[in-house]
Amino acid sequence: MPHLPVLKTYKLFVNGGFPRTESGRSMPIEDARGRLVAHLCRASRKDLRDAVEAAHAALRKWSQATAYNRGQILYRMAEMLEGRADEFVDAIRCTGARPTGRSRLAPRAEVEAAVERLVSFAGWADKHQQVLGCRNPVAGPYHVFSLPEPTGVVAVIAPDDPPLLALVSLVAAPLCAGNTVVALASERNPVPAAVLGEVMATSDLPAGAVNILTGLRAELLEHVAGHREIRAVSAAGVDKAQQRTLELGAAENLKRVHVRGAQPSDSWLDERETAPETIAPFVETKTIWHPSAG
């Protein structure tokens, strides 16, 4: 008797669990030949709010975890991703919507790069403070130092391609510094992001520290921009109109907005993607003064 394949229904990853969208909506994902591969949730504004609430609640625990501990958890994520490498290769391949041309990444290479990216940011967790912070030689009897502190809840808007590596890069940078994240996956190929949620769920990450939504960018962008608990936005593959939407909404509570335009898929392999400049937009410099003489 032939086996009838079980089509997996991917759900959202919010607060450490896998809820369906409260809206009940889903999006079909098809492969290159138009065959149905899976159904994914089409997240709503309410789902976004729930995710932000979870991220906000997780902030204290994650930001106050030791830097060493955060580094270990990011490394654990790399281990879990490596262990499911084949599944991620399939997830990247599963749609026919990937761009063609010289800049496209081979799925296997993309997965390997994503593993390496997590390892790299695992290392940054207890090092960026020394690169981005300093002691200030003020003209007076004071001990004064400036430290990078997490900004808070960071919203990540991932580009369409590369669906795994870009998302992992955009999430890992703020995460390693102690921020919590609400990420909106690639719209064209959200399957790797949905699988990534399963990696996160098994990496000792506190519930809510990373939340992953799948859905339509056009539908959610404005709500991300206007949400008052979101303190910073990291968005890639953004066109001018989307940039304006984000920055206009951000002006209401003075969110920090870091946007990138379209970029070739292979540029995500660049070593600059692990530079401290990728973390810098998602930390606040706090300067502390204390008298140093009686």
Partner: protein, 525 residues
């Protein structure tokens, strides 16, 4: 030079005229004569020019209401001329040998020091602040800012983790009236050090020291167009922040205007840094050195008449010492000398403008109407002319009261209490602002625990209102983004991405929408 600042207020004088107990001080007026012209034009392309708008406005001495001068009111055409001059000056200035750029900045620092007394008197006349503050704080620190940043010019390539920094381009800089020359230095020095050219808009009520600075720039031979100074009101600021040929806006002022600028810049390639309002908490634990804490609270709220964006305007005292602390504070407040800002013994000068005095009085009424109790020393009569407000504080303040939530920008303190460390931190962070905070305790671990948990860009432990060019300053949350001072402050004025710089001749903005490279535009700019 520099950080000995707020002692000017804190160390203060004892026995103010008319208050209990004490002696009357003889007048000790600063007598340096300062020549002020009847009329000032705009400083564009290296020369003072008449405003094309043909409009002038009056700047007055807030302590006497006497007119000091008429100053050009820059219109759209004037701002455009200034931006064009800055654009033309950019290629040469940005490619100048770094040590040569440094030489200009060092010279500016020296000239400010040489003309310090004149600048201090002018600052006090135009803005109303006590001469001892302008003399010992504003002007020396402004010189120090140029000196510090001069040294960065030839070291930028070592500052950004192997990235090669390039200038941002033409910077539009809009500054407030509370520290006029110092804010000009905060804005200009890092911008120039990084090879940018500038259009500076001083505040409407305090344009005179910036115009003196223009004379200094001319004296030191700064190439024309590198710095342009356009005086005017909010309209002038609006023209500048909306100008399509400006690459970066740096604004210091109210959160309300900051948000409007952020919205106006949305979707444009302009970079933005904002240093905005605050409602900063000052937390005093029972184990603090109380006399020192009282001095700290005095300097936190009554320095510069409370016209300080990072003023410690919410005092949060541990309940067990609340009554004793209030008594000490009342006693200390009684010794503050309010009066002629040019008198060297004056602690509290004039309120900067009629409009600001109205705003402060509105909050005083609000405080009483909402049920808080106002503590004020009514010893001496206020001068009959000028804008004056006695230092005061409110007790019985609820976190929901307007005087506990909104930035007053005057010598008005809201006092509240707490029982546990958690409650202190929660109260302190219960504000959309996040500029500064103070913590007073003799226990080191407690100071650092609280400092870590406070959402504020600057935390002063057992001190308050200290500033230094090497030390970053700027806010969390709705107090703005970006830092000024130190290495962090340079970030606002360099680009380290790979996107092509705008052609110096460009007349229209270029959309980087399809630019493949990274663009870091907001936030930690």
């Amino acid at each position: 030079m520099g950080t000995s600042d707020a002692k000017a207020t804190a160390a203060g004088s004892v026995g103010a005229a008319g208050s209990t107990p004490g002696w009357a001080y003889s007048p000790a007026p600063e007598t340096t004569a300062v020549a002020i012209a009847d009329r000032y034009g705009l400083f564009i392309d290296g020369a003072f020019v008449a405003p094309r708008s043909r409009r002038f406005f009056e700047t007055v001495n807030p302590a006497t209401e006497a007119p000091l001068a008429r100053v050009g009111d820059a219109g759209a055409a004037d701002v455009d001329a200034a931006v064009s001059a800055a654009r033309r000056a950019l290629p040469r200035w940005s490619r100048l040998r770094p040590s040569e750029r440094a030489a200009y900045l060092f010279r500016i620092a020296r000239r400010i020091q040489e003309r310090a007394r004149e600048l201090a008197v002018l600052e006090t006349m135009d803005g109303g602040k006590p001469i001892k503050e302008s003399r010992d704080f504003d002007i020396p620190l402004a010189a120090q800012h140029f000196f510090y940043h001069a040294g960065w010019c030839d070291k930028l390539r070592y500052a950004f983790h192997g990235e090669t920094p390039r200038p941002v381009g033409v910077c539009g800089q809009i500054i407030p009236w509370n520290f006029p020359l110092l804010m000009a230095a905060w804005k200009l020095a890092p911008a120039l050090a990084c090879g940018n050219t500038c259009v500076l808009k001083p505040a409407e009520t305090t344009p005179l020291t910036a115009l003196r600075l223009a004379e200094i720039l001319d004296e030191v031979g700064l190439p024309p167009g590198v710095v342009n100074i356009v005086t005017g009101g909010p309209e002038t600021g609006r023209h500048l922040s909306l100008h399509p040929n400006v690459d970066k806006i740096a604004f210091t002022g109210s959160t309300e205007v900051g948000k409007a600028i952020a919205a106006a810049c949305a979707g444009t390639p302009k970079r933005l840094t904002l240093e905005l309002g605050g409602k900063s908490p000052n937390i005093v634990f029972a184990d603090a050195a109380l006399d020192q804490a009282v001095e700290g609270v005095v300097s936190a709220i009554w320095f510069n008449q409370g016209h300080v964006c990072c003023a410690g305007s919410r005092l949060i005292v541990e309940e067990s010492i609340l009554d004793a602390f209030i008594r000490r504070l009342e006693h200390r407040m009684a010794s503050l000398r309010l009066g002629d800002p040019l008198d060297k013994n004056t602690d509290v000068g004039a309120i900067n403008s009629r409009a600001q005095l109205d705003r402060i009085e509105h909050f005083l009424t609000c405080g009483e109407r909402e049920g808080a109790r106002r503590h004020e020393v009514n010893g001496s009569a206020l001068p009959t002319r000028g804008y004056w407000c006695r230092p005061c504080f409110f007790t019985g303040v609820q976190p929901s009261h307007a005087i506990a939530r909104e930035e007053i920008f005057g010598p008005v303190l809201a006092v509240m209490s707490f029982r546990t460390l958690d409650e202190a931190v929660q109260r302190a962070n219960n504000t959309p602002y996040g500029l500064s905070a103070g913590v007073w305790t003799d226990k080191g671990s407690k100071a650092f625990e609280v400092a870590r948990r406070l959402e504020a860009g600057v935390v002063w432990c057992n001190t308050f209102n200290r500033f230094d060019p090497s030390s970053p300053f700027g806010g969390y949350k709705e107090s703005g983004f970006g830092r000024e001072g130190g290495l962090s402050g340079l970030r606002a004025y360099v680009r380290t991405d790979r996107s092509p710089a705008r052609s110096p001749a460009a007349r229209t903005t270029k959309s980087p929408g399809n630019n493949p490279s990274k663009r870091s535009r907001r936030g930690r700019a």
